[in-house]
C-alpha cells in the first residue's frame, strides 16, 4: 500500500458512514496532510479486491457496494401485494354477485359512475373477463369473474360465495336488486 495506513482507515470509514457517495474533494478534506485522495482510493480498491464489498465510483462520488456476484446471490425477492382500492373491491364484488352484468348495471347498483381505470385494473389483474354482450340497445359488454378470481379468494366455485341475503343482516326481502 502506497497510502499511509491512517489515510486508508479514514477513507474506509468515510465511504462507509456517508449517506451519499463521497466526492474526491470531500475525501481530500478529511485526509491527513500529504495524502492524495485519488491514490488513497486506489489503495482502498486494491485492499478490497475480492472482498464481499468494494469501493466503487457512483453518481459523482465513491461508495461501498456489495460485490456484484454476491448481490445477485443475496438479493431476496419480497412479495409486496397491492391493496385494491375500495372502488375496485366494490366493483369486483358487484360483478361477482351479479354476473354477468354490464358496466351500466354496476353504475346503477353503486349509484355512481364507474371509471374505465377501475375496470381496466380488474381486467389487468385477470380477476374479471368479458362474457359476451347483452342483446339490448348498444349491445353492452357483459362481465363475469375468472378462475383467477376463485383462486385469489380461495373459492372452489362461485357457488361458494355467500348468498346475498346473508350479507346484510336485517336487510331482508325488501331489497330490490
Amino acid at each position: 500500500m502506497s497510502a499511509p495506513p491512517d489515510a486508508l482507515r479514514i477513507a474506509e470509514a468515510l465511504l462507509f458512514a456517508a449517506a451519499a457517495p463521497v466526492t474526491l474533494d470531500k475525501l481530500q478534506a478529511a485526509l491527513p496532510e500529504g495524502a492524495e485522495a485519488r491514490e488513497v482510493l486506489a489503495a482502498l480498491a486494491e485492499a478490497y479486491a475480492g472482498h464481499g464489498v468494494e469501493p466503487v465510483a457512483v453518481a459523482g462520488g465513491y461508495a461501498f457496494r456489495t460485490a456484484p456476484d454476491l448481490a445477485a446471490m443475496l438479493t431476496k425477492i419480497v412479495e409486496v401485494p397491492k391493496r385494491l382500492p375500495r372502488v375496485a373491491m366494490e366493483t369486483l364484488s358487484i360483478i361477482a354477485w351479479h354476473q354477468p352484468c354490464t358496466r351500466g348495471d354496476i353504475e346503477d347498483i353503486r349509484g355512481t359512475a364507474l371509471s374505465q381505470t377501475t375496470l381496466d385494473a380488474l381486467l389487468e389483474m385477470g380477476l374479471v373477463a368479458p362474457r359476451g354482450r347483452r342483446e339490448a340497445p348498444g349491445r353492452p359488454t357483459l362481465w363475469g369473474t375468472t378462475p383467477a378470481f376463485l383462486l385469489q379468494f380461495g373459492l372452489a366455485s362461485l357457488a361458494d360465495l355467500p348468498k346475498r341475503e346473508d350479507l346484510l343482516p336485517g336487510g331482508g326481502p325488501g331489497l330490490a336488486l
Partner: protein, 251 residues
C-alpha cells in the same frame, strides 16, 4: 481538612434537594453508607439559610424541615418511642440509601456517557443496501375483504331507498255505508254504533277512524231516511235501527 468551609452554592445548579445533599455527602469524603447524617443536616441547613429565597421551590424547605426534625430525633432520642413509628436511625439509614442509589445512577449515567454512541462517536452504514426486490404483482385481498366491500354496497343501496311511511288502512265513509246497508237488513232492533265497525282493526288510530266513518255513514243514511239514530244522554252510546222497523212498530 477539619473545618471544611461551607461551599457557596447556587441552588439553581441543583436538581432538587437530594442532588445538593449528595454533593454535600460527597464532600465528607467518606463511604455514603457511613456518612454522618447530623453533619450532613448542618451543612444542608447552612446552605439553605444562605441561599434559599422564600419564593424558591417549596421542596427545598420541606427537606430542610424534615432534616431538622431528623437531626433533633437523632440527638435527643424519644424517651417513649412510638412502636409504630420508624426509629430515627432507620430513617437516617434510608436517607443514606437514597443517596447511594442516586450516586449509583449518576455513575450509571457516567458509564453510559463513556460508551461510544451511535451517531456521535461511531457510525453505521450511511446508505445501507436493501438487497431486496419488491414483487408488487400480487394482490392483497381476501374473501372477508370482498364480503365487506359487497356489504358496503348493499348497505348503501338500502340507505338510498326513499322513506315511505307505513300505509294506513282507512275505513272510508263509502265502506261504512256499504257495510251498514248490508248489516241493517238483518237487524231486528236498536243496536250500538260500535257494532258496525269492522273487526280485525288492531291499530287504535285505525279503530277510531273507522268509528268516525261509521258515524258519518249512519248520519248520511239517516238523512236518506234509511235508519234512525238515538242517543239517550250526552256521551252515551249511539244506537241505531232500520227505518222500516220503526215504521212497522209505529203502525
Amino acid at each position: 481538612m477539619s473545618e471544611e468551609p461551607v461551599p457557596t452554592l447556587h441552588l439553581e445548579g441543583y436538581e432538587g434537594p437530594l442532588d445538593l445533599l449528595l454533593d454535600l455527602a460527597r464532600s465528607q469524603k467518606v463511604d455514603l453508607a457511613k456518612i454522618s447524617i447530623v453533619a450532613l443536616v448542618d451543612q444542608f441547613l447552612a446552605v439553605i439559610q444562605a441561599a434559599v429565597r422564600l419564593e424558591q421551590a417549596a421542596d427545598w424547605l420541606v427537606m430542610a424541615a424534615w432534616l431538622a426534625w431528623l437531626k433533633s430525633r437523632l440527638l435527643l432520642p424519644d424517651p417513649e418511642p412510638d412502636p409504630d413509628a420508624l426509629s430515627p436511625e432507620v430513617l437516617a439509614g434510608r436517607l443514606a440509601e437514597r443517596l447511594i442509589e442516586l450516586e449509583r445512577m449518576r455513575e450509571a449515567t457516567r458509564w453510559l456517557q463513556r460508551r461510544p454512541q451511535l451517531g456521535q462517536e461511531v457510525f453505521a452504514r450511511g446508505a445501507p443496501e436493501s438487497l431486496t426486490i419488491e414483487d408488487r404483482s400480487g394482490i392483497a385481498a381476501d374473501l372477508p375483504a370482498l364480503l365487506a366491500a359487497y356489504g358496503g354496497v348493499l348497505r348503501r343501496i338500502a340507505a338510498r331507498r326513499p322513506y315511505r311511511p307505513k300505509a294506513r288502512r282507512i275505513w272510508t265513509v263509502q265502506d261504512a255505508v256499504a257495510r251498514l246497508t248490508v248489516m241493517l237488513g238483518a237487524l231486528p232492533s236498536w243496536a250500538m254504533l260500535a257494532r258496525f265497525v269492522p273487526e280485525g282493526l288492531i291499530d287504535p288510530v285505525e279503530q277510531r277512524a273507522a268509528l268516525a266513518s261509521t258515524l258519518v255513514a249512519s248520519l248520511e243514511l239517516a238523512r236518506g231516511g234509511m235508519l234512525e239514530l238515538r242517543q239517550d244522554r250526552d256521551f252515551g252510546p249511539i244506537l241505531l235501527q232500520r227505518r222500516e222497523v220503526a215504521d212497522v212498530r209505529a203502525a
